[in-house]
Symmetry: C2
Subunit: 219 residues, 2 copies
Amino acid sequence: MQKLTSAKPTPTAVLHRLSLYHCLLTDWLLASKKGAITSKELASTLGLNEVTVRNDLSFLGETPGKRGVGYSIDGLRQMLGEFLGLPPFAPVAFVGSAKVVSSLFSFFLVEKFGFISAAFFSEDPNDRTAVINGREVQSIEAISPELASMGVNIAVVITHPTWVQHSINLLAQAGVKGILVLTPSVVIEAPEGVHVTQIRIPCDLKALFHRVSLLDQQA
Amino acid sequence: MQKLTSAKPTPTAVLHRLSLYHCLLTDWLLASKKGAITSKELASTLGLNEVTVRNDLSFLGETPGKRGVGYSIDGLRQMLGEFLGLPPFAPVAFVGSAKVVSSLFSFFLVEKFGFISAAFFSEDPNDRTAVINGREVQSIEAISPELASMGVNIAVVITHPTWVQHSINLLAQAGVKGILVLTPSVVIEAPEGVHVTQIRIPCDLKALFHRVSLLDQQA
DNA sequence: TAGATTGTTAATCGATTAACAATC
DNA sequence: TAGATTGTTAATCGATTAACAATC
């Protein structure tokens, strides 16, 4: 017999946009924007088709809008947060040197996006006394099952490339189930049962080179 | 009459994988791997279907493989580089504070991926005397048409969120045609004729929260 | 009731995979 | 010739857009 709980997983394209809507609505609420918005407004702000937006939102189960009116900014954000499995402040662990992780925080404003930095682990022995946001930076080897039992299931890896795989393995052993890898590293083994998302800065850059080189030829 | 040069653009999914193959082959060559590889090897290393690999490579025009044999590592990398419009060392400009940009270089090894950091611009007035890789860090306002005329068409933006749009606008004025934005910023206006790629760390994280929350429910 | 906007079903478009002939 | 692996055409799958009925 099939598990009843596991309906089809949300398509990746849809899931990414739902996350994006959640970011946008959070932004609007922080800017004290109130009341209702239409799928048209949402779509045009993000450069999407309005049907795409409505279609995406239909994945939320209970229909979130009012015909003739639109969506409640506050209510829709709430529903999205719930669907995404986001607690009010979502705890994330960070693995990387103190310098790199604190630099990350100077362009990625974690709290504004609803996250909380819950733990820090560094591959650099010189970071044994380092502190970020008033919290001690620990050794990578200190990654342990306490992490997941404390409710930290998600981690960001931004170490030197030589430490990426080891970090992932330790996080997986500690019960972390979702890992975002920012370090460009061509081949990575994802441990069984762990979601590993790789950001590939070099590929994004090479793709841009291609697109731009075509422009040049036309000119 | 239609422009003859502008055939259909390469589909984004294909283009990203072609860039990925280029990264992998570069890696293999740096590790002195020689000779031939098959689409099967390429695919299994990257967790892809081997037909996908062959299909992608068919976009290169002249067929790059030998039936019964496979692909020359060196030859294929060459063809990919040419298709992608990558010079031997591809110049990229970086916009962001000296601290953040130098931190970026400690987890993203630009040269290993075939790039050269060609210019630095910082939004931070304290960076007026800063130097990265022996090159002076300039003010954002110093971004000028010289950039593009020097052959720098691609830039990475990793400033504080408040400076993202301004940086993009200045780069566009300077003739930069491809911009990769690493700073999470929900809404960005892409100037006419400029390719802007946004990396969305918060969305990737929120998507992971969703996937992981489903695992919890099943357990 | 009229106007607006949602939610859903159908149609199109793009991307992936399978099947197979071509050829080294 | 036999074995291997490519390149291409066809079939499937997923994602986007269009059309329209439902309803606030």
